[in-house]
Symmetry: C2
Subunit: 299 residues, 2 copies
DNA sequence: TAAAAATACTCCATAGGTATTTTAT
DNA sequence: ATAAAATACCTATGGAGTATTTTTA
């Protein structure tokens, strides 16, 4: 990916008429935006925005630049597409960014198959939170991202990968919960282990509970733990339960170490998505996506 | 002026198929060019040039990039034109780069008139050698340049300003040369003061002498001095003569301090030129050029 | 007074330089 | 052997960050 970041900054600011907003979408600080715009104004020797303290608008020079900047960005876009097509090889590096759960539980088997079929692709997997993944894509430090389907800035293309389900899990020997199903009122009595706040998984859970009119204070939260692995290990020695992505416990379900308890009329779903920069059509990326989808469709 | 220097580097290298040549024309070092190209290749993840030790050629990716890069540069060009038209004011900064003689003797009166008529233009005058002036223009540290008409890279537009004449000058009281004319054989006997080697003035002199079949060793060089002012001061206390641009001695001719001695059939002329980046159509630049030309035409 | 942009400062990565080595004809 | 590009190393500038201040609706 080759482009002019300063122009991109300008376009974003012009689109939103806000330095702060642009800063968020480009994952840089607001003073960084200020400096880019100042530099541009200095280069063209005239102001691009009229500043009115807490709002801005484009000057005629700004309008003109916006027009050209868009054209230039489009050219860069096209260029990058064509360059990707050209190097369409099944060899070379592929930098995948994935949020923690996906990187730990979903991708490893897929990557194993892929490496087998495409030994010349050099996979590298970065795991980080969703925001950081989006940032990696925008700054061209990753070729493809996999995260929970959060809102993303418009230059990021989203595509559904799979549905994920968050389920109630207990130790398979748990005698406090012997049914395969419970109703949502019962849920509030069960001692629960959940992830620390800030986790993507916890966010979805809270949203679903809200829909079902359950307040977080209604829950009987026994403990918050920092990782899925910690939670699973805790469950092995406790009669508490946890809300976990179904994908994180396939092993333990097969071994009969853990057991899923259905919560009647409270399904918690989320979509896991591929995200990539528009025009990211490199062959390796396509191969990767296709394999991911196939892996889950054959089941 | 706003553009992408790295792309410009690539275009230059692609045009000449030479890193070294591109380095010269862009006034940067060869390793700098190497680094730019490497960076580009890294960004697009494929080589742009095939290196064969002492020659290079474009890869298909290189051909593709060249195509787009030219389009992008053209857009930047147009953009800059339009921006210049927009800010067409008779106020603001005007950065002039001029070679020493021009900056010291030719521009001051012109700038005085101009400041009078356009008090809102903020003139700044940088004096340096011709090469440095060209470099200032290319790197957008000057808006307009004035130098002796040397060869310049193709992105610099040249336009003749005035003809300059290098003349033989002596102290007005010099009793060793009383004629108004001498022939070129006599020239070789006269003790001469000239500029140090490297000076643009000296270059033209040597070329003219060569044409007249006079070797430098034929001349009776009494001393080399570092500036025109030094030479003039020397002449005031000596019976030596000097070859100086006619423009540097107008004052002393009026005061009858110095005297011009014509050398028969050995006129030494050079052209002084405006140089600017193509598409430098800012109003202030036009005003400046027009005033320069007018100043000399009215005479 | 509250929201947004500007400023002050610190830090690090990058672009540039010079000197030298490697490479392919 | 030579011409050209690559490499090594050093320096300075610019871009990014955080914390804070200024501005105006």
């Amino acid at each position: 990916m080759i482009f002019n970041f300063r122009l991109k900054v300008f376009i974003k600011v012009a689109e939103h008429l806000s330095f702060t907003q642009a800063a968020h979408e480009l994952y840089v600080s607001q003073p960084a935006i200020t400096k880019h715009i100042n530099k541009l104004e200095q280069q063209i020797k005239q102001p691009l925005f009229k500043r009115r303290g807490n709002s801005i608008s484009l000057t005629p020079a700004g309008e003109l630049l916006l027009d050209y900047a868009c054209q230039i960005e489009d050219l860069y876009q096209e260029l990058n597409n064509d360059l990707n097509l050209l190097q369409d090889r099944t060899s070379g590096p592929l930098r995948i960014g994935a949020s923690t759960t996906i990187a730990q539980y979903i991708l490893p088997p897929i990557l194993a198959t892929l490496k087998d079929r495409h030994p010349h692709i050099e996979f590298s997997l970065i795991s980080a939170n969703s925001k950081r993944i989006r940032q990696l894509l925008i700054t061209d430090q990753a070729d493809i991202g996999l995260t929970e389907g959060n809102t993303a800035p418009p230059e990021l293309q989203q595509e559904t990968f799979i549905k994920d389900e968050i389920v109630l899990v207990t130790n398979a020997q748990n005698r406090h919960i012997q049914q395969a199903q419970i109703d949502k009122e019962r849920l509030t009595q069960i001692p629960l282990i959940i992830r620390e706040s800030g986790s993507g998984t916890l966010d979805v859970i809270e949203q679903a509970l809200k829909k079902a009119s359950i307040k977080r204070s209604d829950l009987n939260i026994e403990m918050r733990l920092g990782s899925t692995e910690s939670i699973k290990n805790y469950l092995h020695h406790s009669n508490a339960s946890a809300l976990l992505s179904i994908h994180t416990i396939t092993e333990e379900l097969n071994n009969n170490q853990l057991r899923v308890v259905e919560i009647k009329s409270l399904p918690i779903y989320r979509k896991l998505k591929f995200i990539s920069l528009h025009g990211q059509h490199a062959r390796r990326v396509q191969i990767f996506k296709k394999r991911c989808l196939k892996h889950y469709n054959k089941k």
